[in-house]
């Protein structure tokens, strides 16, 4: 290695380390605060000092007294069912749009693409009203069905873009062998697009897990709130207990973080394949 290459290498490590440290400060503070007792926090706050005693007080209060447990189950239910629903329905739609030639193909595709870019404020009032009128307001199905529908534009666009890269000859061969259309979708297309489904699934799960606005509009009962909404409810109640808020924030963030660390490749893939979203 030449001298400049060695210098460059050091420069890379030093710069990267500095940037990453700056980047992680908010995280580190949240983690440290979540393990401190309120006495330690209010007694002159040195944010970067390790807790004198690693206390679980914040976590226990958040989990037990602040219903984080209930919010967690709600979020799991909402995010898992909505993601599966959106993946399944959009794969059907994308399949039709990717390899059939039919009259309304172009307008339908444009409808999906345009809808995914519309600002969500355009939907707030009618969706709220629709939910109230149909009895879907303040129910799990109400929020889940909406999430599925709302994500369909992006998911269909994303999967369709992936499907058009698969050579049509594969399907034509299957057709000549006598496979019907649903069978081709199910036993040829789906296995072929597994990587795209995985990338999309990870991304959708994270987004729906992190949703706040739609839960705010469509859910009212405390027992049905997802974690993001619960967290803001908590903020009002425990406003001075920073360790409780910090612990609850960490709990709300930990699932998407774990999912991200486990499936990083897919997460980034999804993010960059369908960039105008999130």
């Amino acid at each position: 290695m030449t001298k400049t290459a060695i210098y460059k290498k050091y420069l890379f490590y030093i710069l990267s380390t500095i940037i990453v440290i700056i980047w992680l400060i908010p995280f580190v503070i949240a983690v440290l605060t979540s393990f401190k007792t309120m006495d330690e926090i209010s007694f002159g706050a040195n944010w970067f000092r390790l807790p004198k005693k690693w206390s679980l007080e914040g976590y226990i209060t958040a989990w037990k007294n602040a219903h984080i447990y209930t919010y967690y189950l709600n979020t799991f239910l909402i995010a898992a069912v909505s993601t599966l629903g959106a993946l399944f329905l959009s794969s059907l739609g994308a399949y039709a749009l990717s390899w059939y030639d039919f009259k309304l193909r172009k307008p339908i595709l444009i409808t999906f693409v345009a809808g995914m870019l519309i600002p969500f404020q355009m939907l707030l009032i009618p969706v709220y009203k629709f939910s109230v009128n149909t009895g879907l307001y303040d129910t799990y199905p109400g929020l889940i069905l909406f999430h599925i529908a709302f994500q369909l534009g992006f998911c269909t666009f994303f999967l369709r873009n992936f499907m058009v890269t698969i050579p049509k000859s594969i399907f034509e061969a299957a057709k000549i062998d006598g496979a019907n259309d649903f069978k081709i979708y199910y036993s040829i297309m789906l296995p072929l697009i597994k990587p795209a489904i995985a990338a999309l699934g990870i991304l959708e799960f994270t987004w729906i897990w992190n949703d706040y606005l739609w839960a705010l509009i469509l859910i009212q009962s405390d027992t049905k709130k997802p974690i993001t909404l619960g967290l803001t409810t908590l903020q009002g109640q425990w406003v001075t207990s920073w360790n409780v808020i910090a612990a609850a924030s960490i709990l709300a963030a930990i699932v998407p973080i774990i999912v991200f660390l486990m499936f990083q490749k897919y997460f980034i893939q999804g993010l960059t394949m369908g960039s105008v979203k999130g």
Partner: protein
């Protein structure tokens, strides 16, 4: 082989119906509601033409929100793009362990704006917040400010907090874009005696054009739909000074029950976004003939 014309429609039936009910039809309903004085409680309402839109132009809080959205947009584009690109260039170097650094940089992308809002609420808190404590600690205590309660500072403080995640996002997009930079060309330029700046300006940057278009669009659209983080940290206060259009629309519609007025704010926001959407679509479908 006879083609059955209805097969694609059968596949599309369920997804398209749901999409129409929850996404497409509501768009038109919002436009209609924006011409009414509907308060969401009374069963009846009157069509008042463009009255709501006229009112918007005299509404100090709406104009503040609009101006704040522009500040968000400028901040996202001129800060997140260059910094995101810079960090991406650095992280793209082939050194051992760069994967670890990248992963750490991606992390804010996985957080919800609610969590980001909670964390930044104490970072920006005036008495014991991290930023003010830090400034006092290094002897710059006079720079310590009540970030979230000073109407002149609060929007910038919120943008600063949001940039944490936005820069990570821009970096992800540029890292993906850098994959398509032809290494042979960069090396050829190097052999020809181009310095690093010339290599960046004449070889790498042109190759990053598609990534740049995406990154700018993402940042503009995200800046226009900013909501969660404002709502969680300040609710638009103090006195609407940090309000953005999405926030004001929500408050007017769901707290003040002016659904007609709220709808007109949404429509204005929609038209502003539409310009950028069209620009993006033209750019992204340019090469695709089979749409």
């Amino acid at each position: 082989m006879k083609k059955k014309w209805w097969i694609p429609y059968a596949f599309l039936a369920l997804p398209l119906t749901m999409y129409l009910i929850w996404v497409i039809i509501p768009i038109f309903q919002t436009v209609i509601i924006s011409f009414t004085d509907w308060d969401s409680v009374s069963p009846s309402y009157n069509f008042i033409g463009l009255e709501n839109y006229k009112m918007l132009f005299y509404d100090y809080y709406f104009l503040t929100s609009l101006l704040n959205n522009i500040k968000w947009m400028v901040g996202f584009v001129i800060v997140a793009i260059p910094i995101g690109l810079g960090i991406a260039m650095l992280m793209d170097q082939k050194f051992k362990g760069n994967k670890f650094f990248k992963t750490m940089m991606y992390l804010p992308m996985t957080l919800s704006f609610v969590v980001i809002g909670e964390i930044w609420t104490w970072i920006l808190e005036p008495n014991h917040g991290v930023i003010n404590e830090f400034l006092r600690g290094i002897g710059l205590g006079n720079l310590a400010k009540p970030w979230l309660s000073d109407p002149n500072l609060v929007t910038y403080a919120l943008i600063f907090a949001a940039l944490w995640r936005q820069i990570s996002y821009a970096m992800v997009l540029f890292l993906a874009g850098l994959q398509s930079v032809p290494t042979e060309q960069v090396e050829a330029a190097y052999v020809d005696g181009a310095n690093s700046w010339q290599r960046f300006w004449y070889v790498i940057l042109p190759a990053l054009r598609p990534a740049m278009v995406i990154a700018i669009t993402v940042n503009i659209i995200d800046s226009l739909r900013a909501f969660d983080i404002v709502f969680v940290i300040t609710r638009g206060g103090p006195f609407y000074s940090s309000s953005v259009m999405a926030n004001y629309m929500y408050i007017e519609s769901f707290n003040n029950y002016n659904m007609g007025y709220g709808a007109s704010i949404a429509v204005i926001q929609f038209f502003i976004t539409l310009g950028f959407i069209i620009w993006y679509l033209i750019n992204s479908f340019k090469k695709e003939d089979n749409l």
